[in-house]
């Protein structure tokens, strides 16, 4: 108990650090038991490396999955559900889900029907930090309850902390149904981050007139 609280007392003569300095120690380092001990360490290192492969593969699995593997085209209902010039809240069931997701696999989005077959489908998540934005028809604004981000009717940034406009889903109209390419929570680092797509490729784009094929031009 006397010396326990004095870890670094007077410097003691240290044994030689390198085992090559003294012949006996050098011999000891090459003895059978030293060899076996080293062998056991290498053996466990090798087994550890082998084990690390499946463990890392399991842990990092989600990181290597591509965005596109989560996404698929789903229907939001017939076009007639969305009156011209209005913006409506639509719920859908996420196409990529597991049994344990429960109600968290329900996703909401804002559908703006501009006219004819021109739409904008906005993610519910604010481009700032992902809180759910609410649409106010009277002032034609989306407002975020978290940090006060605001967006205009076309999803462009109006004010507040967001750096950009609302995230948009790709859409198309197939046999009079509004389809969107969904499956992943939009963030600044995934495919939702792309600015507004220049061209909407949709199966019936040939039906449209020249102006209608792309939104926004």
């Amino acid at each position: 108990m006397t010396e326990i609280n004095e870890p670094s007392g007077q410097p003691q003569p240290q044994p030689p650090r390198s085992s090559t300095a003294v012949p006996e120690l050098k011999a000891l380092a090459h003895s059978r038991r030293a060899f076996l001990f080293k062998l056991s360490l290498y053996l466990n290192g090798a087994i550890g490396a082998v084990l690390a492969v499946p463990i890392l593969g399991y842990v990092l699995g989600p990181a290597f999955k591509k965005d596109s593997s989560y996404k698929s085209w789903i229907s939001l209902g017939p076009v007639s559900n969305f009156p011209d010039g209005e913006t409506r809240l639509v719920d859908y069931r996420n196409p990529y889900r597991t049994d344990s997701d429960g109600e968290t696999a329900n996703v909401a989005c804002w559908v703006r029907h501009i006219q004819a077959d021109q739409f904008q489908v906005f993610a519910i998540n604010c481009a700032h930090l992902g809180c759910p934005v609410r649409w106010f028809e009277q002032s034609k604004l989306f407002m975020c309850p978290c940090h006060g981000g605001a967006y205009y009717v076309d999803g462009s940034r109006a004010s507040g902390p967001p750096e950009r406009g609302l995230f948009e889903y790709q859409y198309s109209i197939v046999s009079n149904n509004l389809m969107i390419n969904a499956g992943q929570m939009p963030t600044l680092s995934n495919s939702a981050c792309l600015k507004k797509p220049l061209v909407q490729i949709s199966p019936n784009s040939s039906d449209r007139n020249q102006e209608g094929t792309s939104w926004p031009a």
Binding site: P7, S100, T104, N106, L129
Partner: protein
């Protein structure tokens, strides 16, 4: 009777001997308990570390008890919390203790850290004790955050969304990191189960291991002596001085100092129990259904200051700040004892240290206070819910009253308060006409600017006229309205100019 008593004592002694012969713990434990402590350190200022440890034990025990019932599945977690609150006998109380215990633990850890910092206890030879302590603070905050996620309600759901949005801003690997964090493309079953694993296995394991090392170092290096102004810590002499101090008049930790630790820990436990009893458990708030968007998510109290910072940062600064500031702050805390490992310990000789504590405490306090009422958020229901003050409608023309309706109907109230009601995102407009002329108001409404959206597309000319007509009547206590001096001059010029006015 005496024979029975003797026999009981002898059986007890023999049992003790049997175990001691095989365990051999009595000697090291006694030595640890009686390790000599500087008499000045047997102080009420030195009780926070042990209180934090006691709270950790409380959290471990109540956490295990909650895990008996809680279901870590995104589809069932919320219902299992309701079940705990309402069906299980005293389930609400256990949840309340665990929740309040968490808040107290964060607070006590911060107080402990502040005390250690102000007393210079991180200096030689206790640098590593401090560094381990910084990790303990981070793990404690990690437990608070993951615990908030396990309370799987709306706040937890959108809190995860905020977390994912922050992680997504990491350059290059943001996308994969989000997938790692969520366990998939959306916040769902995989997300909750990995946060459960973090909260129940990973972080507690690290926490207990680091606490063990931390406590071992306190025993090995001895409790920090009470700092004295002018007593300089030097690596060359400190060990000898400390050894002299404790061998001359050191007191055994048990019982001389320990009774204060025990009394304080009991008081803190009593506070936790009282809060749990009077204020009850935290939530859960609404169901974690992302299609219910009528929600204003908010983090728990330990993270409100971050929530406030995120509201006030300019957009272009936000991402750099989010990734540089934590590195600087955590790096600074880790490096502190290595940079300032010697010198004065006493706070009266370390003005910058005291100033830092004051500035950090005031900053965190103000930001947390702002986080409790979020003045930066629009009040989503103000436009339809808050009444227009009757004084603002008395003796007003139909056009001005129509403007008051436009003001409500276009959600202006969500950001602008009238008569103390409404949002605080923009300035209160009770006296707007004393600050802005008619033209300035029209421009501001139609074009926006200064963090206000433009309403040009949402207002017809008639609505704009009515709205500005109403705003022009808002002059506080009938102060004189703002005027455009140049217009007065032009009007004066265009009409008959009285002689003497123009020179």
């Amino acid at each position: 009777m005496a024979g029975l008593r003797d026999r009981t004592v002898s059986v007890a002694l023999r049992t003790y001997d049997w175990f001691e012969r095989r365990l051999g713990l009595t000697k090291p434990l006694t030595e640890a308990a009686e390790h000599p402590t500087p008499p000045t350190s047997a102080s009420w200022f030195y009780v926070f570390g042990s209180a934090a440890t006691v709270l950790l034990m409380l959290q471990v025990v109540t956490g295990i008890l909650l895990a008996l019932v809680y279901t870590p599945s995104a589809g069932e977690a919320w219902a299992s919390l309701q079940f705990l609150n309402h069906q299980i006998t005293l389930g609400w109380f256990l949840r309340a203790i665990h929740g309040w215990g968490s808040d107290f633990m964060v607070a006590i850890v911060l107080i402990h850290m502040t005390q250690v910092f102000l007393f210079g206890a991180y200096k030689y030879p206790r640098e590593l004790t401090w560094i381990i302590g910084v990790f303990l603070l981070l793990f404690t905050l990690g437990m608070a955050f993951t615990g908030q996620v396990l309370r799987f309600d709306q706040d937890a759901y959108w809190g995860l969304g905020i977390g994912a949005s922050i992680v997504s801003r990491v350059p290059w690997i943001g996308g994969p990191l989000v997938h790692m964090m969520l366990g998939g493309p959306i916040i769902g079953g995989q997300t909750l189960s990995r946060f459960f694993a973090l909260h129940v296995f990973v972080i507690p394991g690290l926490l207990l291991a680091f606490v063990a090392v931390h406590v071992w170092m306190v025993l090995y290096l001895g409790v920090n002596e009470w700092p004295m102004p002018g007593r300089i810590v030097s690596k060359a002499t400190y060990d000898r001085e400390y050894h002299e101090l404790i061998s001359k008049d050191g007191v055994p930790f048990v019982p001389d100092a320990a009774w204060k630790d025990a009394v304080f820990a009991a008081a803190i436990l009593l506070c936790v129990i009282a809060c749990a009893l009077f204020f009850g458990p935290f939530g859960p708030t609404g169901e974690p259904d992302p299609t219910i968007i009528q929600t204003a998510p908010k983090p728990d109290v330990a993270f409100l200051w971050i929530y406030a910072v995120l509201a006030y940062l300019p957009p272009e600064l936000e991402t750099p700040f989010l990734f540089i500031a934590p590195i600087v702050v955590i790096g600074g805390m880790l490096l502190l004892p290595l940079i300032a490992g010697e010198g004065e310990k006493h706070w009266s000789r370390r003005p910058i240290a005291v100033l830092m504590v004051a500035v950090i405490a005031v900053t965190l306090g103000v930001l947390t206070h702002l986080g409790t009422y979020t003045p930066w958020s629009p009040v989503m229901e103000a436009w339809s819910g808050d009444p227009t003050p009757t004084d603002y409608l008395k003796n007003r023309s139909p056009l001005e009253r129509q403007g008051a309706l436009v003001f409500q109907n276009k959600q202006c109230r969500n950001c602008h308060a009238l008569g103390g009601l409404g949002g605080m995102r923009g300035p209160a407009l009770d006296a707007i006409a004393t600050r802005m002329t008619e033209d300035q108001m029209i421009r501001q409404v139609l074009q926006g600017g200064g963090n206000m959206p433009a309403y040009g597309n949402a207002l017809s000319p008639a609505e704009t006229r009515a709205l500005v007509g109403f705003l022009k009547t808002l002059r506080g206590n009938n102060l004189s309205p703002a005027i455009d001096a140049s217009r007065v001059l032009t009007q004066a010029n265009s009409t008959a100019v009285p002689t003497g006015q123009v020179r």
